[in-house]
Every structure is written in C-alpha cells, then in structure tokens.
Amino acid sequence: MVLLSKRSISIEPLSRKKSIARGVWITISISALSILLATILALLAALGRLSKFPPFYAICTFYVSLIRGTPLYLQIFFFFLALPQVGIILPGLWAGVLALGLNYGAYMSEIFRAGLSSVGKGQREAALAIGMTPGQTMSRIVIPQALRFAIPPTGNEFIAMLKDSALVSATGFVHELMWRATKVGRAQFHNLEALITAAVFYWVMTLVFSYFQGRLEARMSRGER
C-alpha cells in the first residue's frame, strides 16, 4: 500500500512540491468555477426573492432555506455519494463545483438582495421615464449598481471558497491542494512539512487574491454614490 503510493507520488522533495502545486491549480479552478456558478445562482435567487411572481419567489426561497439549513459537508457528499446511487454520476470536479456553487449561491443571494435593494426607487423611475422597459431598467441601471455594491463581499466569499474547496478533498475524488498535501504527507511520513507547504500555498493564494480584490474595488468605486 505504502509502496504503491510511493511509486505514484514520488519521494523527491521537488516532486512533492510539484504535486502540491498541481493541487493549487485544481483548487483555483474549483473555486473560480464555483464562484461563477454561485454568482449566477445568487443573482437569480436574489431577483426571485424580490419577485412578485409567486412560483419564482417560492422556488428561490426554498433553495436558499434548504441550503442554509444543512451542512456544506453533507451537501458535498450528497453530490459525490448520494447522486450516483440514483444513477447520476458526475465527474469529481463537477460534483465539487456544483456542491460549492449551490452552497455559496444561497449565501451570496443575501449579498445580491441587499445590493438590489440598495438601488433607490428614483433610479428605476428615472430609467422608466426616459422610456426604458422594465428589463432594460434592470440590466442597464439596477443590476450594474447592485453588482458594484456586491463586489467587495463577493471577493470575501471567493477567499472563503478557496479554503472551503478543501472540503471536497474529503471525498477523495478530487485531487486538489488539501488532498495532495495529506497524501504526500502520509506517503512520506512528512505530514508536518506537507501541511505547512499546503498552508503556505493557501495563504499566498488568498494574499494574491486580496491584492487584486483591492485593485478591483478601487476601480469599481468610480462614480460612487
């Protein structure tokens, strides 16, 4: 067993780092795809919860309530273990993205809802008064302002996501950063080094991302208020 692992994951320190580094890339991919899915779901759910169309409102409220009322850990296993039982087998990465995206979408819908409500009634009326349709008013006037409001907290969600993506390693199907760190550590009896390496990678990723988040916010704040 140990030998097998040793063969598949090389002993040299350089390769160990390489293996972990490949995990970084997978972690970033999972996080980026998940946050994209989450953003779309969050916007839909926020629109739904502000909607006067009862079925849309009901579905969105149910989604948010269900996701917020159950552990993320359970949701992840649901996609990896429960769905295959009924014949739905998703590739590991996509199951992880779906689970994380759905989960974060529910939480982020609150951010978007606040963003949408932050756009005053006067903005809508000014748009309608120049002849814009309700749809144009939404897409040209309300949503851009809501997004601007929502970007800083969304950045925080992304950072949280980088770290929460480690949870999908628990399923053993997605070989992202955390999974690799524990595997390498166990294979080489260097848990301390492997975990510290992983920690450094996580930390650096969040630092780099925070930097870009700051720049984006500065850019977005043009014409604030």
């Binding site: 006067g122 000014a126 309608l128 008064a129 120049i130 002849g131 014409g223």
Partner: protein, 258 residues
C-alpha cells in the same frame, strides 16, 4: 390648436386616500405652466400620472395624440405607456442621475438603449444637449463629482436628449442649496424662450411670475384656480390660493406644513 397634454377627469387613489379629484387640464404647445400648491396637495402625483409612473384610478391621459384611459390592461397598455413616456421628459427633485455612468453616458443612455441609436449619433445628441444646459465641460465626470445644480442640469439634458414633446419638472430646485437654484432656473428660462412646452411644479414664485404663461393651483387634490401669473398672483380669487400666497409672502416654505 391641439393640446400637447390633455387630462380628463383624472382621479387617483392610494388605497382609500383620494389624492387627485376630477382633474381636467390642457397644456398647449409652447406653454409654460407652473403648478403650485402646498406639500401633499397631489402635485407630484399629477405629474407622475402624466407618464404613468403612477397609474390613474380614473380618467384619461393624452399626450401628443397618445391616449390612455384608466383601467386599460395587457400588452396594449405596455406599448401605450411606452409611447406616452417617449413623448414626455421628466426632471425629478432628486436628480436621479445614474451614478455608474459619466455625465455624457447619462445623456446618451436614452438614445442608445431606448431609441437604439448608434453610438456616434448618440454622442452628438448628448453633447448638443449638454451644451444647451452648459454642462459640456463636465461630460467625462461621474455624477458624484459635480454639484447639485450641475446634476440637475445634466438631468435636464438627459430628458431633452429624447426629444420629448413636453418637459415635466417636479420641484427641480427644491433639493438644491439656495446658491445653486439660480443656474437651474436660468437653464429652464432658456428652454422656455426656445419654445419648449413645460409643466413645472415649483415653489419659486419669481420664476412662475416671470416665465409662466399660466399658473395652476392644486389644493387637496383639486384644481382650485388657474390663470395668467399676473392675475392669479396679484388677485387670487380662491381662498386656498390666497392662503398659499400669504404663506409665500411671509417667507415661509409651504413644505413645512404637511
């Protein structure tokens, strides 16, 4: 001559509260009509019914030949409302400029999004209208970087860019610091001189006196008196008009009293 705006027997209820009572009113081309009345009288509601930001409970609204009778429903109504809104330009007390767009983009938004005009033509129209209100030098600024008076002038340009048949102003200077009121009134005066048809809710009696062709008094949702400014302001017949003018003369804002 056909009226640009023709309001017939307009009623508006908010729940059980009747805010407008059987208002009938005609505005003719090139007229500048000022609406006065104390706060809560229903002046804003009247203006907002004209472009269906509020839906009338009863009565007809006609702007430049497009007529909507209260109670109309369905897809037809949506198209008619759109037609109605294209014919009037609205200027709000709170400016309501789009904060995420530059001054120029604010004015281009209508032509581009609503009229599907190409960018170059829209820029041309926007710049021409910014010129009219004296705001061309600030065209690349964002709204948070200009003063209230400048914002209101941009808002006027934004409405003008749609080439409406009539401009509706709802207390355009009420949110402004006193020293900024003048520049907005100056722009409005120049529009009046150019022959723009205007319906203006205002507490600026001097403006009404100098510029209006007609003054209308609204009290508790009723049109109680109207006439040429010289007659109406100097010889008010209705008791409510008299009381209102008395308050102005005493230098009190009628807004304090709800």
């Amino acid at each position: 001559m056909l009226p640009i705006i023709k309001i017939t027997n307009l009623d508006k209820f908010f729940g059980r509260l009747q805010v407008l009572k059987k208002i009938s009113l005609e505005i003719y081309p090139q007229e500048v009509v000022c609406i006065i009345g104390r706060s809560g009288a229903g002046k804003s509601t009247l203006l907002r019914c004209i472009n269906y930001l509020e839906e009338p409970s009863c009565g007809d609204i006609e702007v430049d030949g497009v007529c909507i009778s209260a109670g109309k429903k369905g897809k037809d109504l949506r198209e008619l409302i759109h037609e109605l809104r294209l014919r009037s330009g609205m200027v709000f007390q709170e400016f309501n400029l789009f904060p995420h767009m530059t001054v120029l983009e604010n004015v281009m938004e209508g032509p581009v999004t609503v009229k599907k005009m190409d960018k170059a033509s829209a820029v041309k129209i926007a710049e021409m209208n910014l010129e009219r209100v004296g705001m061309i030098i600030k065209k690349d600024e964002y709204p948070n970087r200009i003063s209230g008076g400048q914002k209101q002038r941009v808002a006027i340009a934004r409405a003008l860019a749609m080439e409406p048949k009539v401009m509706l102003f709802d207390e355009p200077t009420s949110a402004l610091d006193p020293e900024l009121i003048g520049e907005v009134l100056t722009v409005m005066k120049s529009l009046a001189r150019e022959g723009t048809t205007m319906l203006v809710v205002t507490h600026e009696m001097e403006f009404a006196c100098d510029v209006a062709s007609r003054v209308i008094v609204i009290h508790d949702g009723e049109l109680v008196e109207q006439g040429a400014p010289a007659d109406l302001l100097n010889h008010p017949q209705n008791v409510h008009t008299q009381a209102l003018l008395e308050r102005y003369r005493a230098g009190k804002s009628p807004q304090v009293e709800a």
